[in-house]
Symmetry: C2
Subunit: 485 residues, 2 copies
């Protein structure tokens, strides 16, 4: 395919994408396929000779679409949102066209510099303390990671290196293995599985801190476990606070936790993967109070800020904490400016070496929506979740299971877990809408997350009526079965 | 921006990208900017109100392009190639449009299933042993990682878990920390820095194995260090063999190393990040002989197989080795089919949780080039590197520093390292072409890598004439200075 054909096919693809997104509400949100559906539909091996674009293009509807879960359908209420917007799609096309690999400043200066400045823009939008910004000569700064999991891992690794060096300087007779064996990381029992995974990767212990009855970790709970662990000779070194937990969007109490971490010399990382985008609205910014105690902070514009995946924004107060944990300098990656102190080589801030020009997406989205446009988007989602909450509350058969703060509603039928499992099954088998569940303590709970950019009040009303009807049908047979038994 | 405007702007962007790539040879390959160039060119913070697309679009040429290193310029001979092709760009647009997040089968079945089948296609193209393929009921299979660094890390972590469990079952009194402190990973002294980094992340020791005078690791070198380490109580558990090292594209001797690793119960991972793409040509497939001894294998279609970044293909013989090292199952990520054994949940195969629909790029590229088209691309690059090699060899002032096997030529002026540093400096300051250096033992060496999809014989001839002229100029002043001293 030459440039001339790309011009033609690229424009067809633009139209295909526009059609797909404009009419996505007409597609069934969750596919009908069974595991293994795709293999029989395509050849066993790659073609020897080139095929033409028409044949490939036709197969999108024939082979791919039947197996797609439509994350941007206004009937998709599962997991958390995955962002999508037209400005981000345009920027990503440009990113692909330029196709640079930005592992060092010299590998493409614009790629590095735009990222640094965009993370400053974004930091200012959520009113992050100055220390987290790069500015012209700050010690902190931001970086785009691929996912919140990587941000958690990177911060945990930086904390591990820092602690090992510190302990070794105080007790030079301890080996690195001795210290590693005594390090403990902490996070809420509501924290995302990626925190446990980060500790697993880093080879350190990880303990859950009990959350309270609002599913938040408070200071006393952390204090208690720290005291116990220190008394038994362990070395607490890392605490991951969550703002907006995955099960129910609860918030750890930063203002209590932060001072404890600072006093105990524990790295505090804040994972606000979903909730972080909301902090661009002044009325939600208070949820971030206490960030001033943190060493690192992360949230995902690719969840809720209309920047397509992947774009996970991470800031640190001291960039040298990251770079000193990772820095290795083979000659083929060295360049003229790197020792000047003026440049950032982002490869020292992350797990992979290569990186795409992802800041273009932020640049396009922030400029073409403006802060007000993005605030509107957040506020619409929060409004819709409260609309759903009110609908649930008006039906006495149902209960709300956690405070609705942002765009997530946790709810269930009053009754057994089996009943709620059956309800979820009937919802997801009907495939009019798509939800996923969670556990809150011993309860099986349904999560209703406002996800799509184009979801409106009518979709929420439809979803509730549908759920309510399925519940009615279910309760009828459920009671009959119950009687018969 | 609504869908209607996206149709218009998307098409403008397609033309912009086509223009950019068609006329990329007219742009200076390496930018003129100094560190910090970008910040003064744009506002301090995000705009409050939306800007229009024209203003953003104009800034691409004004602010971004002056700071771009043009990786796809036919005058770019630095690092290794980063792939770019029109079919891959089209597929990436589609990937963005669908915008699903494929962490589990249910999150978008097509995303998972196409990936599994594409990795089988690709595995067959390089004639990987059957055990590495997923097929319908294989124990192995492939996955797309973001980078070779992640593939190395994931395989090292799987090996770590496997070894710890094995040692603990044999010696139940050893703690995990005891074992961790004794684990050792190995790689060539020519291996990529990401191997050392993976060991650093995993918290295990890493040792270099000396390469021979062809910069390859042979069996006896590995055997020697293993024997020493075992004698001193260490536990060797992981060896990363490199096919196509970054400094000079040398090849470790798999047929000697593989049996040793198998006998010693050491996980052998093969990193063929750059060279792997060449194995689709029968005449280069012999370089992969010995892969049958490996536990995991990785190469980057995003380097040399015309699939835009990121697309790093990794295969394992036993997928359970990966999943058992990582598997964590919170309820919100569980789904109906996952215990059926029929589905793949790729989140257990990788570091991040989220993942894009990257297999679309492979599907488009493999179909629209066909195997023959891709072979032609590889063969052209190898032909051009030999062309450059011949030009160097005809000039008595120069020497070739390592065997030219694929698309990389390592060369230098006969003389001091200072002289060669000065030559590289004059080349990169002239900015007609772009190269990076490496060290081969004590020698400072220039790397000439064939990179661009559109590079032709004329560009190589031009590059050589340019280098040769700069060398003539340099040697004149160099000798004068030398006389004066």
């Amino acid at each position: 395919m030459d440039a001339a054909e790309f011009r033609k096919r690229g424009k067809e693809m633009v139209d295909y994408i526009a059609d797909y997104l404009e009419k996505i509400d007409r597609r069934q949100v969750f596919p009908d396929v069974e595991p293994g559906y795709l293999r029989p539909l395509i050849p066993d091996c790659a073609p020897q000779d080139p095929e033409n674009f028409e044949d490939v293009f036709k197969d999108i509807e024939k082979i791919i679409m039947p197996g797609v879960t439509h994350w941007h359908s206004p009937y998709f209420f599962a997991y958390f949102p995955s962002a999508s917007s037209f400005p981000a799609l345009l920027a990503d096309m440009l990113c692909g066209g330029i196709g640079c690999v930005g592992f060092s400043w010299a590998a493409s200066p614009a790629c590095t510099e735009l990222e640094t400045v965009m993370l400053d823009w974004l930091g200012k939008m959520i009113n992050l303390p100055e220390e987290f910004l790069a500015g012209k000569d700050g010690q902190g700064g931001g970086v785009i990671q691929g996912s919140a999991s990587e941000a958690t891992l990177v911060s945990l690794l930086a904390a591990r290196t820092k602690t090992i060096r510190q302990v070794q300087s105080e007790k030079p007779d301890l080996t690195e293995a001795d210290i590693m064996g005594r390090l403990v990381a902490y996070a809420s029992d509501q924290a995302h599985s990626s925190v446990e995974r980060a500790a697993l990767i880093a080879g350190v212990k990880m303990k859950n801190v009990s959350s309270d009855d609002t599913f938040s970790v408070c200071g006393s709970a952390l204090k208690k476990v720290l005291d116990e662990d220190k008394a038994s000779g362990l070395i607490p070194f890392f605490f991951c606070a969550t703002l907006g937990t995955t099960p129910c969007c609860s918030f750890d109490k930063l203002l209590e936790l932060g001072p404890i971490c600072n006093k105990e010399n524990i790295w505090m990382h804040i994972d606000a993967a979903y909730a972080g985008s909301a902090f661009i609205c002044p009325e939600f910014r208070h949820l971030l109070n206490g960030v001033e105690f943190a060493d690192s902070f992360n949230f995902n514009p690719h969840k809720w800020l209309l920047v397509n995946f992947d774009c996970s924004a991470m800031w640190v107060k001291k960039r040298s904490d990251l770079t000193s944990a990772f820095k290795l300098e083979p000659l083929y990656l060295q360049h003229h400016h790197q020792e000047s102190g003026l440049v950032t080589d982002y490869r020292h801030w992350q797990i992979p070496l290569g990186r795409r020009f992802r800041s273009l997406k932020l640049w396009f989205v922030l400029r073409m929506y403006g802060v007000t446009g993005l605030q509107e988007h957040i506020r619409k989602h929060v409004r819709l979740s409260h609309q759903f909450e009110h609908l649930v509350l008006q039906d006495e058969r149902f209960e709300i299971c956690a405070e609705v703060v942002l765009g997530l509603v946790c709810f269930r039928v009053k009754g057994s877990n089996e009943l709620n499992k059956a309800l979820l099954k009937s919802i997801n088998e009907a495939k009019k809408i798509h939800l996923v569940p969670c556990h809150l303590r011993e309860k099986f709970v349904l999560r209703f997350a406002i996800c799509s950019r184009t979801v409106e009040s009518t979709h929420v009303t439809f979803a509730w009526q549908h759920i309510s009807q399925l519940a009615t049908d279910l309760l009828k047979t459920w009671e009959q079965n119950h009687h018969q038994q």
